[in-house]
């Protein structure tokens, strides 16, 4: 087990190295960040001075090696734009995004899994067909459009929920959370719903497919032949077997949402990391982009590890493979 975790972390290190080279070279090719930072009237001498101050006068490889040397010591550089440490910028924005995504994912699992099981149990029933049609809408309508429609309905016509920004927060240690206040929940509701609806639609489809696959299995028929109550067959024999694909997809979607909740965050002016990433790419603020992506690789590796550990909790034969 520890060997397994260490292996995973080494793999992550490799991915981070390759990715940081790609991002470095990519942003270098796109353009010169100083042109975004100085006023158009600035003289060439001023530009040169800025380049020197930011270390951009060096060759790309020297810049990269300097970055690596600092990164190993935990320093991911400072934002070209604000001069703040890149890592600090990201960490400040992180709770807002994580909170939004956790609420959205919880919603999608709580809604998607039961509906998916219902649709899988009786595929020909009108209710099941309605669920499946709804799920097609759910993930084919663009995210920003759903967001705008929800704003129209709940914020403009009904006027019951705020349309943008994060609500009142409470500090828990260094982390500011808005899920502990009523105002926070009111602000969270629409963006979480926007993000969660498409995910719920996906969970419905995954759950339905898994249910349809497990139901014809002999062990379900055998469970019926044993005279088990239908609730026991559903909640234990079926559910435990469909959890594996559900957890796989939920894990992937969770990572995806954390790293790229940018559309929803933009529509609702949600002060999360996605907004920070887009702003940094536009201003070619390389330290922030690189630090952000490194954080995300770390996060996704940890997430995959959690998913694998959950597999082991559910699927006994997965435990065996790790032990070998």
């Amino acid at each position: 087990m520890p060997v397994f975790i260490i292996n995973r972390l080494f793999q992550a290190l490799g991915v981070i190295l390759v990715m940081s080279v790609l991002v470095f070279v990519g942003l270098y090719l796109i353009g010169d960040p100083t042109s975004m930072l100085v006023s158009p009237e600035a003289t060439e001498i001023e530009r040169q001075a800025l380049r020197k101050a930011l270390g951009l006068d060096q060759s790309i490889w020297v810049q990269y090696l300097t970055f690596l040397e600092n990164a190993v010591q935990g320093d991911f550089g400072r934002s070209f734009l604000t001069g703040q440490p890149a890592l600090q910028l990201i960490i400040e924005r992180m709770p807002a995004t994580v909170e939004l995504v956790i609420v959205a994912m919880t919603f999608s699992v709580l809604v998607g899994v039961p509906l998916g099981i219902l649709a899988g149990l009786r595929p020909k029933a009108p209710s099941s067909k309605a669920i499946m049609t709804g799920s097609i809408l759910g993930f084919s309508l663009p995210n920003f459009w759903i967001g705008l429609m929800l704003i129209m309905l709940f914020a403009v016509y009904l006027g019951v929920l705020p349309a943008s920004a994060r609500g009142e927060t409470v500090s828990v240690g260094p982390v500011a959370l808005s899920i502990l206040t009523v105002d926070g929940w009111q602000h969270l509701a629409l963006p979480a719903l926007t993000l969660g609806l498409a995910k719920a639609a996906l969970m419905i489809r995954v759950t339905r497919a898994a249910t349809r696959e497990v139901l014809p299995m002999d062990y379900i028929k055998f469970a019926r032949a044993k005279g088990l109550r239908p609730s026991r067959i559903l909640n234990v024999h079926l559910l435990k077997n469909i959890l594996i694909p559900i957890i796989t997809v939920a894990g992937l979607e969770f990572g995806q949402a954390i790293a790229f909740a940018v559309v929803t965050e933009s529509v609702f002016s949600w002060p999360g990391m996605g907004k920070l990433l887009i702003d940094s790419i536009i201003t070619l603020d390389r330290p922030v982009v690189v630090a952000y992506l490194i954080m995300m690789v770390f996060f996704l590796v940890i997430l995959n590890l959690v998913v694998d550990i959950l597999y082991m909790a559910i699927d006994p034969s997965a435990r065996e493979k790790v032990r070998d």
């Binding site: 055998f222 032949a225 005279g227 006994p316």
Partner: protein, 333 residues
């Protein structure tokens, strides 16, 4: 009505444990109606062992599932009656039927690698079978589970209880499935080719042990198989099934030594034995007919060496002395 009181009144009469009359189980598919079971009569006494023999697609498994009420749409019992211990199983509601399943009537499936739930421990799968039918504590149910494993000859049962199915061999898994079937002391067990997926040596052991267990506990058994040789040493009586119908029934020795129906004769001639060593095995000519498109009259007509014009009309079962019954116009009498 209360199931147990109905059974109490039923047992006072001298009735067969199971009586199936004119059972028809059809499947409505897009291509047409598949008549998987099309007129089956079975009578089974208490503690009796019946071998239900037939080739793949003859409807023997569907007959088993029909008894348990485990026919799923598009399948449906369209006609006939199944009476178990005075209870009408066809018209019975789902909840009383559930109470019978696994408690009065148990089933063993063909493929032991598929019947146990892969993500549940063996003890869970045994204990839940007890607790589905009786309000007993988990500790008591666990003790019964352990006893059941001992009964089917599983070494170190305490270790096995904590195992997952993937950790056990095929033979071991089938023993556990048998333990699950026996755990609530049913009056009838339906075994659907339970040894087909196992090694020959394990096959012999399991058949022997199941027979001993049924004799000891007085449990009636329907052993479904395509292999006549398997039931020859096991069953009291044999019913031979072809294309959804029972073509011949009789005492095991009678059926094997003096088969009446040409299909039964064909099956017996196809069994490899010492007397035919070095000779080509007999083969029944032709192929099993599609259940969607059965020939008119006797379904075996096209493959039969004794077919006559009469066979264009489907024969009804003819009862003969000695409890024999045959469905043929030209039986080998």
């Amino acid at each position: 009505m209360d199931v147990s009181s109905m059974q109490a009144t039923a047992t006072t009469r001298q009735e067969p444990l199971l009586s199936i009359k004119g059972l028809k189980t059809h499947f409505a598919t897009r291509a047409g109606v598949v008549k998987a079971v099309d007129g089956v009569d079975i009578e089974l006494g208490r503690g009796e062992i019946l071998g239900l023999v037939g080739e793949s697609g003859s409807g023997k498994s569907i007959t088993g599932f029909s008894i348990l009420g485990l026919i799923d749409p598009p399948g449906r019992i369209v006609d006939g009656s199944i009476e178990y211990d005075g209870l009408d199983l066809v018209s019975m509601g789902e909840e009383p039927r559930r109470q019978l399943r696994g408690n009065d009537i148990a089933m063993i499936f063909q493929d032991p690698s598929m019947t146990l739930n892969p993500v549940l421990r063996i003890d869970t799968q045994l204990i839940e079978t007890v607790q589905a039918h009786a309000e007993v504590s988990t500790a008591e149910a666990r003790q019964r589970a352990r006893d059941a494993l001992v009964q089917v000859g599983i070494p170190s049962p305490d270790e096995r209880l904590k195992a997952y199915p993937y950790e056990l061999s095929g033979g071991m898994r089938q023993r556990i499935a048998i333990a699950i079937a026996l755990i609530n002391k049913p009056k009838l067990i339906i075994a659907d080719e339970p040894t087909t997926a196992l090694d020959v040596s394990i096959q012999g052991q399991i058949i022997y042990e199941v027979k001993q267990l049924c004799r000891k506990t007085g449990t009636a058994l329907i052993w479904i198989t395509h292999d006549l040789a398997v039931v020859a040493g096991l069953a009291d009586r044999i019913s031979v099934m072809y294309a959804g119908r029972i073509v011949e029934t009789g005492i095991t020795a009678d059926v094997i030594e003096r088969p009446l129906h040409p299909y039964t004769q064909g099956l017996i001639d196809s069994v490899p034995s010492h007397s035919t060593r070095g000779r080509r095995l007999h083969q029944i000519k032709g192929m099993t007919p599609s259940l969607l498109n059965l020939p008119q009259g006797c379904a075996f007509r096209d493959r039969c060496e004794r077919a006559t014009p009469e066979c264009l009309v489907a024969p009804e079962p003819t009862l003969l002395p000695g409890g024999k019954s045959v469905r043929c116009w030209n039986p080998a009498l």
